[in-house]
Symmetry: C2
Subunit: 482 residues, 2 copies
């Protein structure tokens, strides 16, 4: 069923020889920049990159991750023809910090996109991603890539923070979450989500800097994002491109096109996921029909875990504990699929620990671009993992909630210094864990059995790792509190 790539095949596809040979692991303490491959004659041969990013999708919400009633044949096919990650993380358990970290390859507290008081940006916020931050889009744009952002931005809605200020040639989408700016006449509290109407939320739809629709018709938004994405791909067949496609869904309020109404056994939430699955299928079909599939890395994941307080309208973290907002596994571990026919071995499973922050270093390697070498990065090149030739070099994963370091993962071990439930009464304050709580995540992914007493040496080593981590940690001023 599976076919292994020959060594030769892996190194001659897509003109990647030089870029891959020069790829270096990056570390947060001493980033080793990848060598530059000048954008020149072979620019057209460098692989395209598409990042499809869901909003509040849980670890257990796809059929290929064990969901019993949501049908995701296109995503299942993506897994069967590509790589499925089982220990892949977003960089934060909520939206804005998670997106900032993906874009910059840096922890949210390094770039200021976090806070202990305001979890995300709101329509009244004055802050946003700062100009001095370097995004994936900027790196790729500077290296000859066409770039587009289609979807939810949420890194600042004021003009100076727009996607087009951060490396994207074009932008089509909504500036913040689809549940923001609820109108006064809408039903209060959860009632507006139970039977959502487009007019309850005054969210604008933008094309580049211009509001083209307000409120955005969210019923057709997944379809329209998809059409924009297909159009962008079709228009840029000759030039390497980077498409960032952050869906607004399945964040509540849930909306889907008429043709997906009542489609799923899972109800409204399932309909929404099945439309996203359709969208992924359209992207794959488009690449295949344009013969770009062997020249394009498609990466699918989400910004944080499921919003469990919304019950049937929220997703599922599968076997993982808690959800969105929490640094238990359910808050940050995500479905993640990588598809690149001819390069990634079909049906492969990566059980490596990896992060959305790693996409920056990966993009640099693919493009033969230089890493932003003047700053501390938290990004590890995933190309060895994707090609099946090695590991990314990531040893540690840090779980932050705002500015609080809640937990650390090293190999199979996760040590909680503080715990706090996602939402509800138990979530008011973090609970300090002293001594720390320890789980062996590979044996116990549901974080049920604290094994701290049996492994004092692990705790000691991880506490020392934290001291090293703190040395290069200079928290930036919060943009979310402005």
């Amino acid at each position: 069923m599976h076919q292994r790539l020959s060594f030769l095949a892996a190194f001659t596809l897509c003109g990647m020889t030089s870029a891959l040979a020069m790829a270096q692991p990056t570390t947060s303490t001493s980033p080793a920049p990848a060598q530059v491959t000048p954008a020149g004659n072979d620019a057209a041969k460098r692989p395209n990159m598409i990042v499809i990013f869901c909003d509040d999708l849980g670890y257990g919400d796809l059929a290929c991750y064990g969901n019993p009633t949501i049908a995701t044949p296109n995503l299942d096919q993506m897994a069967a023809e590509g790589m499925k990650f089982t220990q892949f993380y977003s960089a934060a358990p909520v939206c804005t910090p998670s997106r900032a970290a993906l874009m910059t390859g840096r922890l949210p507290l390094r770039n200021g996109m976090c806070s202990n008081r305001r979890r995300v940006l709101f329509p009244d916020s004055k802050g946003g991603l700062q100009a001095e931050e370097v995004t994936i889009a900027e790196v790729l744009q500077a290296n000859g890539y066409a770039t587009a952002c289609v979807g939810k931005w949420h890194l600042g809605h004021l003009p100076q923070y727009a996607p087009t200020q951060h490396g994207f040639d074009s932008y089509f989408g909504i500036p913040y979450s689809n549940d923001m700016d609820r109108v006064a006449s809408a039903p209060k509290g959860r009632a507006s989500f139970a039977d959502p109407k487009v007019e309850y939320w005054n969210v604008p739809l933008l094309r580049n800097g211009e509001v083209i629709e307000q409120p955005a018709d969210q019923r057709t938004i997944t379809r329209r994002y998809t059409e924009e994405a297909v159009e962008f791909i079709t228009q840029h067949q000759k030039q390497p491109f980077f498409l960032y496609l952050p869906h607004s869904m399945p964040h509540v309020p849930l909306f889907r096109s008429a043709e997906f109404e009542g489609r799923s056994k899972r109800g409204l939430f399932g309909d929404v996921i099945e439309e996203i699955d359709w969208s992924v299928g359209r992207i794959m079909e488009t690449l295949e029909s344009l013969k770009l599939d062997e020249q394009t890395l498609v990466f699918f994941t989400s910004d944080n875990g499921p919003w469990l307080i919304f019950n049937e309208q929220g997703g599922s973290a599968g076997p993982l504990r808690d959800g969105k907002g929490s640094t238990w596994e359910g808050g940050m571990r995500e479905p993640a699929l990588a598809w690149w026919p001819g390069t990634i071995k079909p049906g492969s499973v990566s059980r490596d620990v990896a992060s959305t922050m790693d996409l920056l270093a990966t993009a640099c390697t693919l493009a033969g671009a230089k890493l932003p070498g003047d700053r501390v990065l938290d990004s590890y090149d995933l190309t060895p993992v994707l090609l099946g030739t090695g590991e990314s070099g990531r040893e540690l994963l840090f779980y932050y909630r705002g500015y609080n370091l809640m937990a650390v993962r090293k190999g199979p071990w996760k040590m909680h210094l503080m715990t706090q439930d996602a939402y509800g009464a138990g979530a008011r304050q973090p609970v300090k864990q002293d001594p720390p709580v320890l789980y062996h995540l590979e044996h116990d992914p549901s974080e049920r059995s604290n094994v701290a007493e049996a492994h004092p040496e692990v705790i000691k080593a991880m506490l020392a790792d934290i001291e090293v981590h703190k040395k290069d940690l200079v928290p930036a001023e919060s943009q979310l509190e402005r």
Copy 2:
């Protein structure tokens, strides 16, 4: 990636035309017996049947059901080439009743293999499956099938209850659970499971009626079951056969062969599952090499959910609530895979509600055999589901704990009349739920949101269904209390 069977192909394979055309749904109130296809000239063309039955495997323990760290490439391949069920149930949340129901297609309380005091049979039990019960093996044996039971029986260890008294030509395996008859010198309580040694349990290994090893060397038991199974298949290429392969694992104490030690990222439990996965691969390979694969239905599932109190040594129910012993979903919903190349559409997913009890009626249809027509059955023919031509006709699923009807499922709805946790302090007594608790399992598989108040009409209808169900219910005397 997928290929659909043509109508013609489905009906000309394996000489099944007549049997399938005559298949009838069976109901518990009025079983409609399938017509007899005499075992005659075409006997050799009737499909073989292999049932691989695990012990305490949870819904979340296979990679194809979302497990993050257990590698099950052969079971994943079985799913990719066959059918994966996502709403498939064992007939009871513990071992003996579950096995009795699979064998007879009848609820445990109809055949006496249940109790409210002793959950399963023990080495001092005097009871067992009664001679008047009709098993799958008896039906198939009477219709010209060679039959073998290889593995854990647990339906009575006294000679009159042996597999060879219930339709099996031969038997190789252990008579009850692998944690029974612990020797006095073994460490007490859980300590004997933490670092298990073969000599802690005095479990016998039998060939037909004879004890050939005591204590059974459990380290090699999965391998030896596999070798026996392969030998049986190889010896019966010319005659239709039925192989029942109930593994002793992954019931604690956990043992695996030397070559699987330290194999899995999931630790000891993962090693054990990965050896079972290897075993499944050996069965599939054997069928393929003998060119019997297109003539054999292989069905893989388990007897009940994971034994959660054993922490890392127990499995995972994935997104489902609770585990072994409980009538929450985690106790009874199981991974279930059906593989029959050329007949079952590759990569298909069945979200139909089905039960281990349905294997009896399915076997009858495949063999062109008559259903036991003189008794109430709880078995619904699954061949329309397997062939993709229709549904099984099952409308209701009953969740019993001993003689207590705890819950009922109808379509997506599950109504709990009583709840009781699996183990621990909260498990002492069932809690009557009046009014009943209601979950929409297709929207809410984790049983988190009680929606009873919003759906009084569903509760009313299901209470009426229970009255009908009770009319043909004559509980047999308990065999477990003897």
